[in-house]
């Protein structure tokens, strides 16, 4: 599936915002073929191979805010 390959390829480039290490993708939910966002990783986790920090993907958006800012936002209810 071309769209899927393109999207996974895009995700494969992004790096840890803290140490810039490579991220490993674990996809829990991928948009099915035929959907407008076919191949998009809807839910999953990106884990930094270097510093072990984990970054969530929710609603198709990888959250790569530095962890302290992400946690502050979660605390603020965003």
């Amino acid at each position: 599936m071309v769209a899927c390959e393109v999207r996974l390829d895009l995700l494969s480039i992004i790096a840890c915002p803290v140490c810039k290490g490579a991220l490993e993708l674990e996809a829990d939910e991928i948009a099915p073929e035929g959907a407008a966002d076919a191949g998009e990783v809807l839910t999953g986790t990106l884990t930094c191979a270097a510093c072990d920090e984990r970054y969530p993907i929710t609603g198709g958006i990888p959250n790569l805010l530095p962890p302290e800012l992400r946690d502050a936002e979660a605390a603020a209810g965003r």
Binding site: L10, A15, P17, K20, G59, L65, L69, R78
Partner: protein
């Protein structure tokens, strides 16, 4: 008189970040609401505090806050900033959410196969234009810190069927991309929102490939006195964070950029047409090969 490094002396970094996020989150939500309404002439668009100048109704008089966030006015502005060919095929929501002050892709001379990063991608308008130019062999990353804007951008992307754009939630000061991974960095009226512009330029330089280029449109102050207003809400509307152009360009030089060039200045006025000592400026620069 001493110039404050980042206009931040009177407004804390957290206050600025929060004001910016709220301002643009509300803008995105308003566009999402507007998408369900046909903005017919003479009719309130339905958004709370609608400030449509063209609305015509007495109780819908334009006010500064609403006019700054309301979709149709932004759509009209987008149509003056971009040319017709660039806007063809774009969802109206992408134009309505557009908060830019320029058109960086027009100057970036993007080529097929290039990788582009848009700092502060908002509703995605510049990403979609860039995606068309770099083609299927190229790719575009849109980085933004406002969840509502990212949701809007993704909805726009999927409606268009674009597959070479990825939107990422993140900070301009901590770009989640490896060193030397991007050919062109673009940004449209966003770096002025950052309380740490040195970090933004340092990060932009880091992710660019040698020979890579930076094309930004941004709000800059014309004299060392800085912008007329610097409270948090003025930061969010691109005035408070607009620093003196000399300081801004010096930060770019300090980050390593060369061949720094500025063109085209459009003066920013307040609602009474009083100049705010701030102008929209297009800046281009290179990372040495």
């Amino acid at each position: 008189m001493t110039t404050t490094p980042n206009n931040t002396e009177r407004t804390s970094t957290d206050q600025i970040r929060q004001a910016v996020q709220e301002h643009y989150g509300q803008r995105a939500l308003r566009v999402i609401e507007l998408a369900d309404v046909t903005p017919e002439s003479g009719q309130d668009c339905g958004a709370e505090n609608c400030g449509r100048g063209s609305c015509g109704s007495d109780d819908c008089a334009p006010n500064a806050e609403a006019a700054a966030c309301c979709g149709p006015a932004d759509t009209e502005r987008a149509m003056t900033l971009y040319n017709e060919a660039q806007l063809q095929g774009l969802p109206v929501e992408a134009m309505a959410a557009s908060a830019g002050c320029g058109n960086p892709t027009a100057l970036a001379d993007l080529r097929p196969g290039e990788t582009v990063l848009d700092l502060g991608s908002g509703g995605g308008i510049d990403c979609f234009i860039a995606a068309e130019q770099v083609g299927a062999s190229g790719r575009v990353f849109g980085l933004d810190m406002t969840p509502e804007m990212l949701a809007l951008a993704i909805a726009n992307r999927d409606r268009m069927g674009v597959t070479n754009v990825e939107f990422i939630e993140g900070h301009l000061e901590d770009i989640p991309l490896p060193d030397a991974s991007v050919d062109v960095v673009i940004s449209n009226c966003v770096i002025c929102l950052s309380p740490d512009k040195d970090a933004v330029f340092r990060e932009a330089y880091r992710v660019l490939t040698p020979g890579g280029r930076l094309h930004v449109s941004d709000m800059l102050a014309l004299t060392e006195a800085g912008p007329a207003l610097t409270d948090a809400e003025s930061w969010a509307s691109c005035v408070g964070g607009a620093e003196y152009r000399g300081t801004y360009l010096a930060r770019m030089t300090a980050a390593g950029f060369t061949d720094i060039d500025t063109i085209d200045e459009a003066l920013r006025l307040d609602e009474n047409d009083v100049p705010l000592n701030v102008a929209s400026v297009k800046v281009s620069a290179h990372k040495p090969a």
